[in-house]
Amino acid sequence: MSAAAQWTIDSVRAALGAKKISARELTSEFYTRIERHNPALNAFLTLSPERAFSQADRMDARIARGEPLPALAGVPVAIKDVISTRGVRSTCGSRILENYIPPYDAWAVERLERAGAVLLGKTNCDEFAMGSSNENSAYGPVRNPAAPDRVPGGSSGGSAAAVAAGLAVAALGTDTGGSIRQPGALCGIPAMMPTYGRVSRYGLIAFASSLDRIGPLASSVRDAAAVLGVIAGRDPNDSTSAAAPVPDYLAEMEAQLNGLRIGIPKEYFGEGMDAAVRRKVEAAIELLKRLGCRLVELRMPHTDYAIAAYYIIATAEASSNLARYDGVRYGLRVAGRTLRDMYKKTRGRGFGPEVKRRIMLGTYALSAGYYEDYYLKGQRVRTLIARDFSEAFRQADVIVTPTSPVPAFRLGERTADPLQMYLADIYTVTGSLAGVPGISVPCGKTPEGLPVGLQICGPPFGEARILQVAHNFEKAGGADL
């Protein structure tokens, strides 16, 4: 399974352009790999060969006519199962949507296909994107291609594993509290959460609407940038999608790093970080220094409160968003004597334990008598965390931290205590609450061979800047530290 870096967007385009392979042949090649490796990895939940081959044929026809090729022509991609795909089952990793077939495409999916990408299928994830290990999927856990007895991270674990194992050239994931960046780190690939509003959420099945974002996972920073360039932009169907122009990421990220100010927040380097992770992240910071960056030590004093604020706000929003699963319009229905009885039985049987736990927590935080102490308090602390970031970006161009305090852990090792699982989200939930973009790039492996990720966060709409840092870091051998 060391085929990870075999195909990139550029090599696909070159091979198609030179007629060394057809888009149809390439698609077949990927389905053959999926057939061989997916039974062990469980990265894909649903395959969409009909849709993939008809798109591949469209691309081959364009090539035959000598037409110019769009940005992602013939590039095989995978889509996280919380993102709607017309005519292709989208379960969200939940029993309650086991047979749900969306009647429309998400904006990001439509954009990918319009750019020529070939949709191979839908990837496994924690149920409704709630989890950090992919063990909360109703369809079984995903295994980490780098260490099959370990988790791939979550919630976009299937997307990360598919790309890392070479079963897709790129994938879409979603990030609410770290769900793109953390699996990217644990599987050893670049993975990016754009600014809130940079990519339309139209067709993204909601978990926490003020936090949810769609972003790319790929085998190189360059490919992540190319996918982001295609899916970013204003969409009239999502009133929170931003009108800001989309820069030419591929061009801008080539600039050198001379004199760039790299912020190192002290709070992200305290206790609780695995020693091997710390060594790699420190080596990564040294490399950035050698590339001409200036280090700036920062304080972000509210970091320690982020997990508590996040798990109030995200669960409160989830309890409201998931009220729609009631057995009436789509998905599972479990019969009941009355309407109310039907709701309760459907939801009781359709949702898994983590989703129920979060609905309970969110409902409690919003219920009469607790709203002020929990939900409003959480929103006030969110303001403080966002201020930490805007203050930091006055002193630094980007902020560099570990992505996860630990490398990939063993399946089942952390499922007994949900709070312990939540606490490991400490380095990623902050940027989620603040709305800023962040990327995780590989920065070497632990002595056991487990990938470590470096997180680079930028100011709102600073995607080009963090891609520039990530790309230069990768080119300088950052992944092999």
Binding site: A242, A244, S319, M342, K344, P353, Q379
Partner: protein
């Protein structure tokens, strides 16, 4: 204990979740541990801090949000949507009896 067994039952009722006896016990224990952790927010004095209503409010690139024109357009998805319903009765969704006589 921050959360009692009665709280768990009340919240499950509000959230329309049928829970088994084992779930009630597990959730009480787990929610209590999570809520105890969340108590740490009380350490922060936030009396002078506004709750965040919209992330990135004040960031100009995000503020340029324009609502689209409200123009009627055909939306013939009814049939397709009903196909995914557990108990369709076109053009309606059928549900158990709501009103008792």
């Amino acid at each position: 204990m921050i959360i009692s067994r009665e709280d768990v039952l009340r919240v499950a009722e509000l959230a329309h979740l049928e829970l088994s006896e084992a779930e009630v016990e597990t959730f009480q224990r787990q929610l209590d541990s999570i809520l105890t952790y969340i108590e740490k927010l009380k350490e922060l004095d936030t009396t002078q801090v506004e709750p965040m209503a919209q992330v990135l409010a004040g960031v100009s690139a995000a503020d340029e949000i324009a609502l689209r024109d409200d123009q009627p357009a055909p939306c013939q998805v009814g049939e397709e949507v009903l196909k995914g319903a557990p108990d369709p009765s076109p053009p309606y969704f059928r549900v158990p009896k709501v009103i008792e006589r």
